[in-house]
């Protein structure tokens, strides 16, 4: 297939005039039906190079004068043509052509434009109306592409946010799973120990029951009684219940504690995810803080000690799983900022109709150029492959969606403090947007 240049579609193959054609003939030609769509006719030299354009309106002006046709009709067209018409090469792009044409366009539009080939030879006429239509078509096409790009972008953004959420969720689940291993370790061992320690007790109970039977039986032989007595004594010594009591007590207590720990971790995980609750409800944010601390404990415990100062808070409407995600993000960031063993302080209070939560660490802090960008999507100071750079930008968005804001101050070498404030009365807006 022949490649049609962009302007080829606009080409109207109007037969050109020679310079000496009379004005009268031109007027007749303009009236022909094939010329109704054009405003002007082209004039070319013997080689076919464009010399000018003669427009309908020029001829109208002439003929409207008294005796106009008689005075001018026999004169060659070259006398009244526009000698400097718009000439555009056919291989010009649509945009460039539009730029050139609109730059010289006059109001009202009286002329068309001349289309020439590479050698500058006349090929045909183009009309401004056709050009406009082509441009409109082009713009509509661009818009479609842009709209699609926007949809794609939004989709991949959603996917990224989702993958960030999954990454933090996965990290959290792995952390909690590992943390379960400690209580599981001693509970499992203790159960095995309890089994071993109670076996001699059961044997002793059996021997004492046999001895009791012997004593109760008048027909029991002296020998049998002596044997039963001896057996019971031997097993008693072996089992040493008086020494065992303390161990058993301790083992049961530790095992009970371990099971409670396991239960708390599982509840913490469930509370944290809040998959079983409504999107938005009246929540005490201190509960969110506590549950985020349970979940983050494993990634914090070898890096920092956590001090809590949780004041009494009014319940506020929010999406708790989202707030938990923000808190977990801040806590793990704080732990990762530690050089050596540090300290993280979590405070909550309420004032002026707002609930405030501050997470402060005494870690490495951030220089200003980092601080300015930390809420930017994809900004990360971690090596490639560790962290998406979305954690804080998502946190920012979540708090913003809740009608609150999140602020940060940091000093290199001293630490960083994040302050979240949420309006107590944000309930209605959130419900509407949720």
């Amino acid at each position: 297939m022949e490649v049609v240049p962009a302007l080829g579609r606009l080409l109207r193959r109007v037969e050109p005039l020679q310079a000496q054609v009379s004005i009268s003939d031109v007027a007749d030609r303009l009236l022909r039906p094939e010329h109704t769509a054009v405003l002007s006719l082209p004039v070319v030299d013997a080689d076919g190079r464009p010399l000018g354009l003669v427009s309908r309106s020029t001829l109208q002006d002439i003929f409207m004068q008294r005796f106009g046709r008689d005075l001018w009709g026999r004169k060659p067209v070259s006398e009244v043509m526009n000698p400097a018409p718009l000439v555009v090469s056919l291989d010009t792009s649509l945009e460039e052509a539009a730029r050139q044409i609109t730059a010289q366009l006059q109001s009202p539009i009286r002329d068309d434009f001349v289309l020439v080939d590479e050698q500058g030879l006349y090929q045909g006429l183009g009309t401004v109306l056709d050009l406009l239509k082509a441009m409109e078509h082009r713009v509509a096409q661009r818009n479609r592409v842009l709209r699609k790009a926007l949809v794609d972008l939004k989709e991949s953004q959603t996917q990224l946010v989702q993958s960030e959420k999954m990454a933090s969720l996965g990290q959290m689940v792995a952390g909690v799973a590992h943390e379960l291993n400690t209580p599981l370790g001693y509970v499992k061992n203790n159960v095995q120990l309890l089994r071993e320690l109670t076996r001699p007790l059961l044997e002793l109970a059996d021997a004492q029951a046999a001895l009791g039977d012997c004593l109760a039986d008048p027909a029991c032989a002296e020998d049998d009684l002596a044997r039963a007595l001896e057996e019971a004594g031997r097993l008693r010594e072996l089992a040493a219940p008086e020494l065992l009591a303390e161990d058993l007590e301790q083992l049961f207590a530790d095992t009970g504690y371990g099971l409670q720990q396991i239960g708390e971790l599982v509840v913490g995980l469930k509370d944290f995810a809040r998959l079983d609750r409504a999107m938005s409800e009246e929540i005490d944010l201190n509960d969110c803080i506590r549950s985020a601390l349970v979940i983050a404990r494993n990634s914090i415990k070898d890096k920092a000690e956590v001090h809590q100062q949780l004041g009494e808070l009014p319940r506020i409407a929010c999406a708790p799983s989202q707030i938990n995600q923000v808190l977990l993000n801040l806590l793990t960031n704080a732990a990762q900022a530690m050089e050596g063993f540090g300290r993280i302080q979590v405070k909550s209070w309420s004032e002026n109709g707002q609930v405030l939560i501050s997470v402060q660490d005494n870690g490495c802090g951030m220089p200003r150029e980092v601080l300015e960008r930390i809420f930017d999507p994809f900004y990360t100071t971690k090596p490639v492959g560790q962290g998406t750079g979305l954690g804080l930008s998502i946190s920012f968005k979540i708090i913003q969606d809740h009608g609150g804001n999140i602020r940060v101050v940091s000093e290199p070498g001293r630490g960083t403090r994040f302050l979240i404030s949420l309006p107590c009365s944000g309930a209605e807006e959130l419900k509407r947007s949720a």
Partner: protein, 305 residues
């Protein structure tokens, strides 16, 4: 009657310590510490045979504790007991702490008992050997090093190390060539990737740990797999695990330490096992190790001769 085996457990969870102490108080003299810094203090004056430590503790990581303990009491056998699978911690515990086993929580009580028994025996043996002579002068003897890695960077490092120390460098491009070399030569050091000519070298490393417990294996690998490393520690008793791209300084340090250890082994005339590997856990791998052990038969004969 020999002196009782002393085992120290370090964990920040007291309940773990109580549980372990109760389990082993009849078999060993059990010491427990919940603070790794206090544990280090005690290790300065109290000799132990076996040291078992948790990894994640507030004051100090387990791998750090084990590394420092290795300096204080090199003859004690060190074991990491952790609920987390953390590759970097495992690498540090092996390379700096020279751990004998990497155990995971929750542990199997019977396996723990078996591991402690082995560890206790090895430690007692090491200490008996260490007592008579003060650090004996180690002659700069030439060692044989077998390289199972086609990577030019590894070759460059190993080549430089060999020519500097006057050691002999042997090479093999595939497993059968490696087996031939191992059967014909007395190999002291082995530097191996986990892949050789497309084949997995882990079964060979595990077989060697059983057939030739004195051979020291240094693994250089681009893989970062905690489970694989754990198996290499427990079942192949590897000496070092060096992630690729290799860092020349660390690699060199590892090679030097291995050479020093190999010279010590050469200086000990009697056949004393101071390293002991677990049998592989997976059935197919156990079979593979079994057949490799057959092929390494000649090596065994020569060693026991």
């Amino acid at each position: 009657m020999s002196q009782p085996i002393r085992v120290m457990f370090v964990d920040d969870e007291e309940r773990i310590l109580r549980s372990l102490a109760l389990q082993f108080r009849r078999d060993y003299e059990v010491l427990v510490e919940s603070d790794p810094r206090r544990a280090l203090e005690r290790l300065k004056s109290e000799p132990v045979h076996v040291l078992v430590s948790d990894q994640r503790m507030p004051q100090m990581s387990g791998s750090e504790l084990l590394a420092q303990a290795a300096e204080l009491q090199p003859n004690a056998v060190r074991i990491l007991l952790t609920g987390y699978s953390d590759l970097d911690a495992a690498i540090e515990a092996l390379n700096s702490g020279g751990i004998f086993r990497y155990l995971t929580k929750p542990w199997e009580p019977r396996e723990m008992a078996a591991t402690l028994r082995q560890a206790g025996e090895i430690a007692a043996l090491r200490q008996r050997q260490a007592t008579p002579a003060a650090p004996r002068p180690v002659s700069a003897e030439a060692l044989n090093l077998l390289l199972l890695d086609a990577d030019p960077l590894t070759l460059e490092c190993v080549g430089a190390f060999c020519s500097e120390g006057g050691h002999r460098l042997l090479r093999a491009d595939n497993l059968s060539e490696a087996l031939r070399q191992l059967n014909e030569e007395r190999v002291d050091l082995l530097v191996s990737d986990l892949k050789l000519g497309g084949a997995d070298t882990a079964p060979l490393l595990k077989s060697l740990a059983q057939a030739h417990p004195r051979l020291l294996s240094l693994v250089v690998t681009p893989f970062r797999d905690t489970q694989a490393l754990l198996a290499l520690i427990n079942e192949a008793q590897i000496f070092r695990y060096l992630p690729k791209p290799i860092r020349k300084g660390m690699f060199d340090k590892g090679l030097r330490a291995a050479a020093e250890q190999a010279l010590l082994y050469r200086a000990q005339p009697e056949q004393v096992v101071t390293r002991l590997a677990d049998a592989p856990r997976s059935q197919p791998e156990r079979e593979r190790v079994g057949s490799l052990l057959g092929m390494l038969g000649r090596l065994r004969e020569r060693l026991s001769a």
